[in-house]
């Protein structure tokens, strides 16, 4: 379980986070939902310690993290797996080396054969068996995300953080990635936090959702409650998402009709 308390963060004159508090439960997929620029990624980086909050604290399973001793922070960080928006795979390493890297660094007692077994297991778990020798530049966006997940879970992480795992992916691949995150969370009983602005993710995997608006937490609840809320900003966000999805559908239908017309003309 991760608890955040009264997180504030300002960059220059811009207040990005304004007193955000909440609890992220173990074994559940916790979503940080909000439009672009509302501070979701900054909050995630504050939680993992990549950005230091101006005020506020983060606790991992009762252990204080923010401003604690370096050794304790490092110890907690070693239990964290993170999937970045850009996947952040090491370009100079193969898929196998990327997944093996945290094992090599964090578990020096592990033998090479044990490490390779674990790498193969993780790659199989994310559906990428046989991709060991590929370089990141040879992978599609979805495959990169899968390798990122495999790297995150390789050292048996207790906390999994995903920063917009669906960005840049087609709806089908996005759905597969969402489902994979959900399955892994339940299978290993880990605490997962996913940053997203995609309502599809909310419907598919959101066990618990925290809605951020202009750096503040406006709403918190489950996916069953989200449609019944009377928070104007959240309803506006849901409506905009629906409109976007409908517009996409119209666009796809028009494209299909155009293609059919062209093929008829050719006939």
């Amino acid at each position: 379980m991760i608890e955040i308390h009264n997180i504030h963060k300002t960059f220059g004159d811009k207040k990005v986070l304004d007193g955000v508090s909440g609890v992220f439960e173990t074994g559940k997929t916790n979503l940080l939902l909000g439009a672009s620029g509302t501070g979701k990624s900054v909050l995630l980086k504050c939680i993992v310690g990549l950005i230091k909050p101006d005020i506020g604290s983060v606790t991992f399973d009762g252990t204080y993290f923010t401003n604690n001793k370096l050794d304790i922070r490092q110890e907690i960080r070693r239990k964290i797996g993170m999937l970045f928006q850009s996947s952040a795979l090491f370009d100079s390493m193969t898929v196998e080396k990327n997944v093996e890297f945290p094992l090599k660094m964090l578990t020096p007692d592990m033998s090479k054969s044990e490490r390779l077994d674990r790498v193969n297991f993780c790659l199989k778990r994310v559906g990428l068996e046989g991709a060991n020798k590929k370089m990141p530049s040879e992978l599609s966006g979805g495959m990169k995300k899968r390798v990122g997940i495999a790297r995150a879970i390789a050292p048996n992480c207790t906390y999994l953080f995903c920063d917009e795992p669906n960005s840049g992916l087609d709806p089908l691949t996005a759905l597969k990635i969402d489902k994979l995150i959900k399955e892994i969370t339940e299978e290993y009983n880990i605490t997962t936090i996913v940053v997203t602005h995609d309502m599809n993710s909310v419907i598919e995997i959101g066990d618990k959702i925290m809605f951020l608006y202009e750096g503040k937490k406006l709403w918190e609840g489950t996916r069953d409650d989200i449609m019944d809320t009377d928070i104007h900003e959240l309803n506006e966000f849901i409506f905009a998402n629906r409109l976007m999805r409908d517009a996409k559908k119209v666009e796809e239908r028009e494209e299909l009709e155009e293609n059919e017309r062209k093929s008829n003309q050719l006939k």
């Binding site: 980086k45 960080r77 970045f84 952040a88 370009d91 660094m105 964090l106």
Partner: protein
């Protein structure tokens, strides 16, 4: 300016605060030494050979007096090469090649969140990525400078004898004349100082890159510019202090 200097000092401090295990550091340093050293041999060889050749031709052009023995050309090529040209020009060439490579590599890692990925794993990214580059440079630069010294003198020999400016015997007499072994030590000390400046400044510029591809390019350019200026200033300081 002072703010940047303070940030640079803090950055250097962060390299040693919570470093990785000696085994990892050793392996990474060897990898970096191969990257920096092997990949730079060709450019150092070409530049230093021609510098030696040009020095020989220009000295012989200026030595017109019949009272000065022709072996002086060999003597001057050796002195100029060992004291200045081999360590300084080699370092300036390496500032361009190695410095931009270090800054570009680290900058790209920074903007693609690879550095963040290391930090999240609990690894001191500065120590893991930068310290091996600095150690490898300290180890490899003096070797490249020794190679440059040898090839410069050889280049002078080829140019001098091929153009008929002096005989092989005169050149060899010249390069053996009044040899001061301390000059070699001085050149090697300079190469170590230059190696530290180039690798640390380039790493600093690359590590603190933010933004996109444009900023990575800018970081590479700034790294080279800063390194060259630092090398020239350090060259003067070393000469004042050590000669």
């Amino acid at each position: 300016m002072l703010k940047h200097f303070g940030k640079y000092l803090l950055f250097m401090g962060s390299l040693v605060v919570r470093g990785e295990s000696p085994r990892i550091l050793f392996n990474r340093t060897i990898d970096e030494a191969i990257l920096i050293g092997i990949n730079s041999i060709m450019i150092v060889a070409i530049v230093s050979t021609f510098i030696g050749a040009v020095t020989c031709v220009q000295v012989s052009y200026n030595l017109t007096s019949a009272l000065i023995p022709r072996s002086t050309i060999g003597f001057m090529v050796r002195e100029m090469t060992i004291l200045e040209l081999a360590p300084t020009i080699t370092s300036i060439v390496l500032a361009g090649k190695v410095g931009s490579n270090i800054a570009g590599g680290l900058g790209t890692m920074q903007i693609t969140e690879q550095v963040d990925a290391l930090e999240v794993m609990g690894i001191n990214s500065a120590s893991y990525l930068v310290l091996p580059k600095i150690l490898a440079s300290l180890f490899v630069f003096p070797m490249l400078v020794i190679l440059a010294m040898f090839l410069s003198i050889a280049g002078g020999y080829v140019a001098g004898t091929a153009t008929g400016a002096l005989t092989a015997q005169e050149y060899i007499t010249g390069i053996r004349d009044a040899f001061v072994p301390y000059n070699i030590v001085f050149a090697l000390i300079k190469s170590v100082v230059f190696a530290f400046l180039i690798s640390s400044l380039s790493s600093f510029r690359g590590y603190y890159t933010s933004g996109g591809a444009l900023e990575v390019g800018a970081a590479g350019t700034t790294a080279v510019t800063n390194s060259v200026i630092a090398v020239l200033i350090a060259d003067y300081v070393c000469a004042e202090l050590l000669l």
